[in-house]
Amino acid sequence: MSAQMTGAKMVVQALIDQGVDTVFGYPGGAVLPIYDEVFQQNSIRHVLVRHEQGAIHAAEGYARATGKVGVALVTSGPGATNAVTGLTDALMDSIPLVVFSGQVPTFMIGSDAFQEADTVGITRPCTKHNWLVKDTEKLSNTIHEAFHVAASGRPGPVLVDIPKDVQFAAADYTAPRAMTSHYRPQVKGDIEGITDLVKAIETAKKPIFYTGGGVINSGPAASQLLRELVDGTGFPITSTLMGLGAYPASGDNWLGMLGMHGLYESNMAMHDCDLMINIGARFDDRITGRIDAFSPNSKKVHIDVDPSSINKVIRTDIAIVGDVAHVLEDVLKVWKSRGRKTDRAGLDEWWAQIADWKTVNCLAYTQEGKTIRPQYAVERLEALTKHRKDRFISTEVGQHQMWAAQYMGFDDPNRWMTSGGLGTMGYGFPASIGVQMGHPDALVINVAGEASWLMNMQELGTAVQYRLPVKQFILNNERLGMVRQWQELLHGERYSSSWSEALPDFVKLAEAFGAKGICVSDPDDLDDAIMEMLDHDGPVIFDCLVEKHENCFPMIPSGKAHNEMLLGEAETQGVIDSKGSVLV
């Protein structure tokens, strides 16, 4: 089926045909024809952000909370360059996005025209793929291909750059059809590897599942199959920051997050295990710590849809390239057909060892005096909201992010939005806006630090304009907490530029935008204040003044192994040597 229409109309038509209902964007000269088409239809909601970085993070939040492809629309030049951080963030965390950017007309490309930038050149290393469409004839197919590439295999952001004359010109529109794209990543795992994995499962004495964002990206079926496999085998499971919620935090076999600020029992189990089953994680340096001391005695299995993840950092004994859901389905099938065997006696001993590690109680802290400990604030937030099935949490980046990951529990996938790979301060607020657009009636909370939050605070205008009741739960220590922690541990307590001397009054700031502000500093008032935040039907800035010098523990210091964790202040003296301090 084909019909003549302008390139601008094609964009809107293709979005409708791809099932898109929400677009985050910011207009400008080079995308005016598309905005004109957006104006003349009602199928797609356009959310006007206040900065293009916000548009991309909002689209990321939307994508992660709904499992759909996020879409953003920006103009040429500065519009596109402002999108770069968000694109890189989405690439690092494998979030499917389609971003449209306007471009100067084809006959002006290369002339240093007003608001011209080499957008495909600039975004080439920070997208999964990108296209400059110079011919309206090719536009509709390119957009369909863009959605296909963004969502298949290891998902990621793609960008379609559309010159203004291509938007004005008319051509035949092609509807999405059976894809003819040669891009078809492998989804079925190799049966040889799967059988080897099952054999390893049958004999392992000290196994552990180490899961990541790939399980979430693979879709709800993957999480379901993971739960079946974990509960069936009775193996312990830990997860990266990105994978929280794939296995429920309330589940019997859950150990808690692993990694640099992961739980003691998770990291010790990773170090001492004899079988490590990595499902959709990538042995990131926040996870492995010192590579040559990483889990020295284990057989390592790696399931990943991206062949380049395998053997990139850690040598793998059994590699299975494929989509998590497909692979887990086959693993379960083979394991069941061979009689659902595990080494029960070995496992009992292993769990006893884990129970022993748990007694360390690595997240313990004491709330006393008149200052709120940040951990306490997060724990109270958790206690007062965890019964809500529709709770979505986003975070900014830093100490608060780690505390949220440590003290909050996620029982479902797609409920936890955080910038893992790139560590983008300023991610959480726009992401919470995207989540709320995807789930208008849900409780959406952004756990933030005041410094991160200020990086994209302009989006308060967006939240108010669209009446999005996003709750900004700011742990305000008047510091760049994680930077300060590293300066304390590594740089002789010289706190170079890590505190804020001119913070705004967050309550007045909220009111200036027409939102509600709440400030709390007394632990005794905390619960009431949180309830007031939850009860308010509209965006809230919750300014929680917390202890200014709190450090985040446990911590695997740079250049150390999993079993060399720091559990508290007393252990921090001189632990990081000069070799470790060059690492970030």
Partner: protein, 187 residues
């Protein structure tokens, strides 16, 4: 066929598990990459190498299938086996890349490079240059009373050897194409 479906065999390996992946020895490998002939595809390949810190010893590219819109990029690179595996896997991940072949491990292959040498000199040096060119089967493609331009085809090693001999005789300038390579055999 993607990089990962490389047939296992006596002289070849899968992308991961047959060679000592984490050996520290640097190896020289020739990779053949079939790509969609579209704007920017070479920039993607080169950007991958520079962005991830891989080496390029030589690189050639030209369209090889006009109707199918395919170009062939031949890359000679060095690295440890782990790095080489990463390179092939990362190349395979680029959307317009159709196939990646590590010719060095997939079996025997032939490699050829073409070079042009400008050699200037008089008297005995001119005679010697012609004599050496004959030994190396280089052809004279331009001549003045004081110079020759030779065309030579061969492996990079042969061209290196020819350059070493020509240098004292009066090598002025040379241009090399980089390696083009094909697997031996019927397929």
């Amino acid at each position: 066929m993607s990089a990962l479906n490389i047939k296992k065999g006596s002289t070849s390996h899968s992308a991961y598990n047959l060679r000592p992946t984490f050996s520290d020895t640097e190896e020289r490998h020739t990779l053949a990459v079939l790509v969609e002939n579209e704007p920017g595809v070479l920039a993607r390949v080169i950007g991958l190498f520079s962005g991830r810190g891989y080496n390029i010893e030589s690189l050639t590219v030209a369209e090889v299938d006009h109707t199918g819109h395919l170009s062939r990029i031949t890359i000679v690179t060095t690295g440890t086996p782990q790095v080489i595996n990463q390179i092939t896997a990362q190349l395979g991940r680029i959307v317009p890349v159709h196939e990646v072949h590590d010719l060095t491990v997939e079996g025997h292959s032939v490699e050829r490079e073409l070079a042009l040498f400008k050699v200037s000199g008089k008297g005995e040096d001119r005679v010697e240059a012609l004599r050496l060119a004959d030994v190396f089967r280089a052809r004279v493609v331009d001549s003045t009373l004081e110079s020759f331009v030779f065309e030579i085809t061969g492996t990079p090693e042969k061209i290196d050897a020819f350059a070493d001999l020509m240098r004292p005789i009066g090598l002025v300038e040379m241009a090399r194409t980089g390696v083009a390579a094909l697997a031996r055999g019927a397929k």
